[in-house]
């Protein structure tokens, strides 16, 4: 069974899906008000192009800010919690509980607190992205090879050198994995706030299109934001691959 056959089947399935969908829509078997034909969706791209791209840009900027905050806070917090046993024992159960808690419950409160601007989206996106990174990094720091720390101490490493030369390089793969996971969560958080109480951004654009029953435009917008998300994740994967190659990891 070759790679080519798998690829062919994938491409064929997507093509059949699109063509079948188009046929069903044109044949009048479904209400075009709810399920527009793919060709109508493509045409809708032209109509929503500029505002949708502006909305996407707005969403991505908020996501980027939330992402940077998540990574910085997650890695710093994870190093603190992971490397100080007393802090870990006291705080970790709460972190795990917060990680597992459905964040949707605090959404209205955050909007109440921070209003309708970009702030609630950034904060809510950060809450989503932060915890997976925090939990992963905490575990990785706790599990850093004790032997390597002993070696570094034997060679006279000071405290900051232990962190800089041993702990940080040792957790790089985990941080990268957390960054891959976190970005989708950040985008999720930002989109939810925009749908809930947005005045701008892709989530707002999409929920207005849904409320206005503009199905082709809504499908086009959905395709746009999905593509953006996949592109971001795939490029993070590619970056990860290159970094691990550079680090000499063997898969």
């Amino acid at each position: 069974m070759s790679r080519a056959r798998v690829r062919l089947l994938q491409a064929l399935s997507i093509a059949v899906l699109l063509v079948g969908w188009e046929g069903i829509a044109r044949g009048g078997w479904v209400d075009p008000l709810f399920v527009p034909a793919p060709s109508a969706v493509v045409r809708a791209f032209g109509r929503i192009g500029a505002p949708a791209l502006a909305g996407l840009g707005d969403t991505l900027v908020k996501t980027a800010i939330a992402y940077v905050l998540s990574v910085v806070l997650g890695v710093a917090g994870g190093i603190l919690i992971g490397s100080v046993q007393a802090v870990r024992q006291a705080v970790n159960p709460f972190v795990i509980a917060l990680y597992g808690m459905p964040k949707i419950l605090v959404l209205p409160w955050i909007v109440l607190l921070l209003g309708f601007g970009s702030a609630p989206a950034v904060v809510y996106g950060t809450i989503h992205g932060l915890f997976p990174i925090l939990v992963l990094v905490t575990g990785a720091v706790r599990d850093v090879d004790r032997g390597l720390l002993t070696v570094a101490r034997a060679f006279g490493a000071r405290r900051w050198q232990l962190y800089w030369k041993v702990v940080l390089p040792a957790i790089v793969p985990t941080v990268l994995a957390g960054m891959r996971l976190g970005v989708v969560f950040c985008l999720l958080g930002v989109l939810i706030v925009e749908m809930f109480a947005g005045v701008r951004g892709m989530g707002y654009v999409m929920s207005s299109l849904a409320n206005g029953f503009q199905a082709p435009e809504l499908f086009a917008a959905t395709a746009l934001v999905s593509t953006a998300s996949i592109v971001i994740v795939v490029s993070l994967d590619a970056l990860n691959e290159r970094l691990s190659h550079w680090r000499g990891d063997v898969r």
């Binding site: 089947l9 006291a90 808690m101 959404l107 209205p108 409160w109 969560f185 999720l188 959905t222 998300s229």
Partner: protein, 248 residues
């Protein structure tokens, strides 16, 4: 022992800080725990929302419907994809690629298609629960030792017997984990759907309380919903442990 004391102390400190912040801050924005408790009593006494029971029941029904559909479709889809290596290799990555998209992007389309009532919440809960279940079935099938299947067939076992005696025990561990994740996500899906737009259900009550600045009632509603969510996960966890014991 000391750790437990520190943890309890930390929890008390957080509650105390919350109490102080709540009393000093704008009462519309911050609710101290001392005000949340009476609000909870009023809520449970059906004073603040007399129809709490109906909303709770609706949310529960949505969850059951969404999860039931997700289990049926996820298991069926997982076995269909797992039955052939070609199908698994072709569609597995496509399914995984959908994981790279935040699921909430599908919600406006579902709302457009199914309307503001229960159907769109069920659809979203289904969508969120479906993926982990399908992927768990696929992963579980990969854990089955094909040699054992061959041996069982050679001894004349029927397909059904092979499934019951060989496949199910070896994939149960992964499968049950996926079913639990699926439940958690179906629950979240339904509640997210309700918060983002609905006329009934716990999410709509949360929105109502928030919209009218009834912040204390909002906190009480959050606590009740949290019990629902944590309770469903706890039940799933009990079942999970039981199933895993049975495998060993």
């Amino acid at each position: 022992m000391t750790v437990a004391v520190i943890r309890a102390g930390l929890l008390l400190a957080v509650l105390a800080a919350w109490e102080i912040a709540g009393r000093l801050g704008n009462p519309l924005l911050y609710v101290p725990p001392s005000a949340a408790v009476p609000a909870l009593v009023r809520l449970l006494g059906l004073q603040s929302y007399p129809d709490l029971g109906e909303h709770l029941l609706l949310t529960l029904r949505e969850i059951v419907a969404a999860y039931g559909l997700a289990v049926v479709a996820g298991v069926a889809c997982g076995f269909a994809l797992g039955s052939s290596r070609l199908l698994g290799r072709a569609y597995g990555p496509l399914l995984a690629a959908l994981y790279a998209v935040p699921a909430v992007v599908w919600y406006p389309s579902l709302m457009l298609f199914f309307g503001l009532d229960a159907a769109s919440k069920i659809a979203f809960g289904f969508l969120l629960g479906f993926f982990p279940i399908t992927l768990a079935v696929l992963a579980g099938i990969r854990q089955v030792n094909p040699q054992l299947v061959t041996v069982a067939r050679a001894f004349g076992a029927s397909r059904a017997t092979v499934f019951r005696t060989v496949m199910l025990p070896s994939m149960l561990f992964t499968l049950v984990g996926g079913l639990r994740t699926g439940l958690a996500l179906s629950v979240i899906g339904v509640i997210v759907g309700e918060v983002l737009g609905s006329k009934a259900g716990m999410g709509s009550l949360l929105n109502h309380a928030y919209g009218l600045f009834r912040t204390a009632d909002y906190v009480a509603l959050v606590l009740v919903t949290l019990v629902l969510i944590v309770g469903s996960d706890a039940a799933a966890s009990v079942l999970e442990h039981r199933a895993r014991r049975w495998t060993e």
